[in-house]
Amino acid sequence: MNERLDPIQVAINGKKQSLEGSTNLAEILKKMGYESSLVAIAVNEEFVPKGRWQSFYLKNGDRLEVLAPMVGG
């Protein structure tokens, strides 16, 4: 059995969530309703460029940061 099919626990913006292990980052973000053009991603404090989302699979315990444009000085 492909271990990717097992559910995984991850933290998304600090909030723990259970995800299907078989989905790549692009699919996860799409399911969560994020518009790809308006978020930037880091996993375990490392930047993951948009070009790698299709081939990037989260693993159990990963910490995902989903950042968006915000006011700033």
Partner: protein, 271 residues
Amino acid sequence: MTNIKHEINNGSEDLWTVYGTTLQSRLFLGTAGYPSLDVMRHAIETSGAQVITVSLRREQAHGSGTSPFWTFIKDLPARILPNTAGCRTVKEAVTTAHMARDLFDTPWIKLEVIGDDYTLQPDPFALVEAARVLCLEGFEVFPYTTDDLIVGQKLVDAGCRVLMPWASPIGTGRGLANPSALAAMRQRFATIPLVIDAGIGRPSHGVIAMEMGFDGLLLNTAVARAAKPIPMAESFALAVKAGRQGFLSGLMEPRYGAVPSTPDLGLPYLR
């Protein structure tokens, strides 16, 4: 509101260039702290600012659609200058810059690496190192720095083609806390665009900075937290223009002895 035109007294446009981008306006405006996004947008439009600063923070809409903030700014005729506000290490700042480039599709980054929580003073060592890393990676770095000449030189050596010294700590509104040091910086970095960033509280502070020959002014709180942000945005635009035109027009040197401006010639004898 007055439509701010950036022309000097001889009629020619007072253009300037940062990282190959030619600008008319010398005012950079922040987007934080306005009473509403609508007021923010009108303040930006009224100021004539062609560069606006933004940040990256955790997505709050939870996938419910386009960020309201982005909706308000995406069509403005201004370049986006994302910042690394809140970063305290080289790694944090570099990672945030990478994410900003991915999100905003720009090599511009306002580099902030804070070293002290009370003053929000930049950590000069981490700032220079982060600037070196980012410049090597092709970023066009706008470093938020102090008025320290050595740090300024090391930032230039790292590849920065603009420096952004503070006037005083962020959000204090104290104006130019150390004008002598800033004047020395202007003199030392005569060919580097210098943008005063942080601490500006009043339009008169902006006039002083521009009269000193600084190339631009970046501010946020003084406009956003004004009782009337939109007229205040116009006040700062006028202040920047007045100070710049004063600088270009040749300021008189101050002197101790009084000199009458009205001629003595023809003075009647009435004693």
